[in-house]
Structures are given as structure tokens and as C-alpha cells.
Symmetry: C2
Subunit: 244 residues, 2 copies
């Protein structure tokens, strides 16, 4: 099984994802928010690239979520904090989300056979689904301003660690995959504290979002794995596995 | 002291290097070759981007070195194997080099206050010079096909490790810096074997360049640090330190 890690949304190329399972990671905070909203009972979430498109697609009864420059968008129901996506807000509703890097990565992954999302909150479950699907994998870190972030890297490293435990075939990694896997192993024992040194964790903490940081660094709180089905992110169900 | 690591030559921006010490790393094999050639007695090396420019600048008595697609260029004295740069070939001579990523990174670093080159062969000496110069630092990994390589990443991680030991001020890292430092610490005890898993080490070995791989992974064989002075790479001498 081949696994390639891509550093940021801007670097994603069609050849990275075609005939593969793609996994988008944006720990702070898009993919942490998506898994939370679905776990709280949202029916589905549609990721879109622009604010006008989100407003255009939003119908009566849907919730709108997302951010620009880390701030909630005027007229939206929630920003990019997973803690805003409560059962009260999302249960039984469909939603639309737009964020700077995370939704861009999801859209650029469009040609993959499957598109999943991972965060620390569901990383182990995601590895199990990827091993079950048994295709080559593209791990797509969303990044920030076209560059790799520490939190996405170490989540990718942890995902590789779990895939190696679940996969039947031997795993071959690209160089970034080898590096993030080593980095994960290098700080596995003190992961949460190391991640608090990341530039985004520091920035979010400074802006008063410390609870978000703590929440997003929680490992394996959910067994739910979001998967894209016809432009909607829904919870993966093994029995729904497509025939490729 | 601020240290930012950049993943590949194509990602280098002027704002990464301005008012800083820049360090270019291309372990396989440009910066390993440059330090070797200077250590074997070459007077200076001029890095140029194109083969025609190398031929145009080459004067009687100079040696020409470099590669395209990992092969020696027709009419050149040597390719990109450091072991070709023997005392017999280079001592007392000026040289010109052109390689795919390494020389491109050197040229893109042009606006930095200082431009050094590092490889495992001289990484500790390079850290000491950087601490002595005491400017913020841009570590520029040359990469391959616009993406990070494992060998450049771990050399950058080792460089950071040594700088932290030598620097008077506390060191602040960007996220890629944090990741490569952790990756280095994660495999410090078994570095050579881990690096043999890198895609470029495997490719070079397959092509019969195993000796090059072994040589380039040798740590701290030299105390020489190449520095760019008016388009020429020469050995750094502390007394030549410029006043900025």
C-alpha cells in the first residue's frame, strides 16, 4: 500500500489523488469541526469554496458555518469552532461550510475514489476505514498560507502509525510521509504539549480559543469517519462501500 | 533567534531570506559536493542555473561540474558525485556548478545577508558559524520536483539541534522547523539507516551510487563552511565577517 503525504492545499495535484483514498486533515479547525457536527447529529455537510456560494446554496432549515481570517462570517450560524456545533444547532439538519484551507483541500481532492476527513478526534477510526477500503492513500494536509502546519503533520504521522497497524499489505511512504511519521514517533509520549508549541495553537490561544485547542488535540473521541458522497460529507458506513 | 525552514527550492520567497542568514541544504548531492570540492582545495565554485551559462562562464583552467536528470553533462569534468571532486581535479582551480535543485535554491537565496551551504558532512560547523553571525536564519531545503525530501529535512533538523546548542538567544521555529526537529530527534539513534529508507537514497543505490549515499550520510567530516561572496562559494573565515 502506497501512502503519499501532501503538505498543503495549494500543492494538491490530480495525480496525487486519482484512484486513491484521499484523507483531508485540517486539525485547527475544519476537520475537527466536521467530525463534531456529524457526531452531534447533522445529516450532512457540504463544503464550498466561497462565501457567496455558501449563501446561494443555503436553503431554509440548513445551518451555515465557516470563517474568513479565523472569524465567523456575518449572517452565518457558526464559525470554525467545533464547540459551536452543538446538538441544539445541528441535529437533524443539513449544513454548508466554507473555510480558508480545509474546504479548499476537500474540493481539490475531488478526483479521488474516496474522500475522507481526519483529525485527532477520529484518527484511529479513519485508519481502520482506510485499511478496510484498501486503496493507495493520499493524506492531504490543509496547511496554512500554502505551507505545512505542525498539527496537520503530526496528525498525518499518527494516521500513518495506525494504518501500519491495520493494513494487511506493507506500507510504502513518500519522503514527507517518512518525515511526519518519524516526527510523530519522536514526540508520541508528549504529543499534546508538543502541539501546543505549534504556531497555530499559540495564535488560537492568544485569541482566546484555548478550549478549541484542547478539544482539537483530543485523540479518538469519535469512531465516526466523514466521507464525501456526491458533494455531501456524511458518516461512513462500511456497508455503503462502493464497488469501484 | 528566529529559524524558518522552507521545504523546496520552488517555495523560496524573498521575504524568507531578507536580512537573514540563509543556509541551502541539498544532501543528495549538491551541497555535499560543494563542501567536498572546497575541502579538496578548489579556490571557489560559482553556482549557475543553466548548462549554457556554465559553458559561457567557464574559462581556461576552470573545472565544470553538475548534472541533469542525475547524469553528468556532456563536456563537463565531473557530475554530481562528491567522490569525483578529487584533489587531482580541483586543487588550486576555480569551478562552476549547475544542478537541478541545489543551485536553483542558492540563486533564489540571493537577497539574504549571508548564504551558506550545509550537508551532513559539515552540519555542526555550519551551526557554529550561524550562531556566530547571530542573525535570524532561513534553512532552505532544495527538495526534489518541488517537494520536501527526507534527507534535507533530517539534515535541517540536525542543524537546528546544533544551533540550539550554540545560540545565545532562545530559538523560535516555524512549523516545518518544529516538525523536522522532532523527526531528527525521533531517529537520531539510527539516523543513517532511517535515511537509507528515503526515496532518493534508494534511487541512487539502485543506480549504482551506493558509495555516494554512504559518503553523503557521513556526519561532520569537515569543519569547512561554504559561504557565497559575490557569486562565488568560498570557505567561510570568521575574520572575513562582514559588517552589515
Amino acid at each position: 500500500m502506497r501512502i503519499d503525504v501532501v503538505a498543503s492545499a495549494s500543492e494538491i495535484r490530480t495525480e496525487d489523488v486519482i484512484h486513491r483514498s484521499a484523507v483531508v486533515i485540517d486539525v485547527f479547525r475544519t476537520t475537527s469541526t466536521i467530525v463534531t457536527a456529524l457526531a452531534q447529529g447533522a445529516i450532512c455537510i457540504t463544503p464550498v469554496e466561497t462565501v457567496p456560494k455558501a449563501k446561494q446554496l443555503g436553503l431554509e432549515g440548513m445551518f451555515l458555518g465557516g470563517e474568513r481570517f479565523c472569524k465567523k462570517i456575518a449572517g452565518f450560524d457558526a464559525g470554525n469552532s467545533p464547540l459551536e456545533y452543538t446538538k441544539e444547532l445541528v441535529e437533524g439538519r443539513k449544513g454548508i461550510m466554507t473555510t480558508t484551507s480545509g474546504t479548499r483541500a476537500l474540493i481539490k481532492a475531488g478526483k479521488a475514489s474516496y474522500i475522507f476527513t481526519a483529525a485527532f478526534l477520529n484518527v484511529k477510526a479513519c485508519a481502520e476505514v482506510l485499511a478496510e477500503v484498501d486503496l493507495d492513500i493520499a493524506i492531504l494536509c490543509a496547511g496554512q498560507q500554502d505551507r505545512l502546519t505542525m498539527e496537520d503533520s503530526l496528525c498525518a504521522g499518527m494516521l500513518i502509525h495506525y494504518i501500519k497497524q491495520s493494513a494487511v499489505q506493507p506500507v510504502r511512504l513518500n519522503d514527507l510521509g517518512l518525515v511526519v511519521h518519524q516526527a510523530y514517533l519522536g514526540c508520541e509520549a508528549d504529543l499534546r504539549n508538543k502541539l501546543k508549541e505549534s504556531n497555530e495553537a499559540k495564535r488560537l490561544t492568544k485569541q482566546g480559543h484555548e478550549k478549541d485547542v484542547d478539544y482539537c488535540l483530543t485523540e479518538n473521541a469519535f469512531t465516526l469517519v466523514p466521507v464525501m458522497e456526491d458533494h455531501f460529507l456524511v458518516p461512513w458506513k462500511a456497508k455503503e462501500k462502493k464497488i469501484i
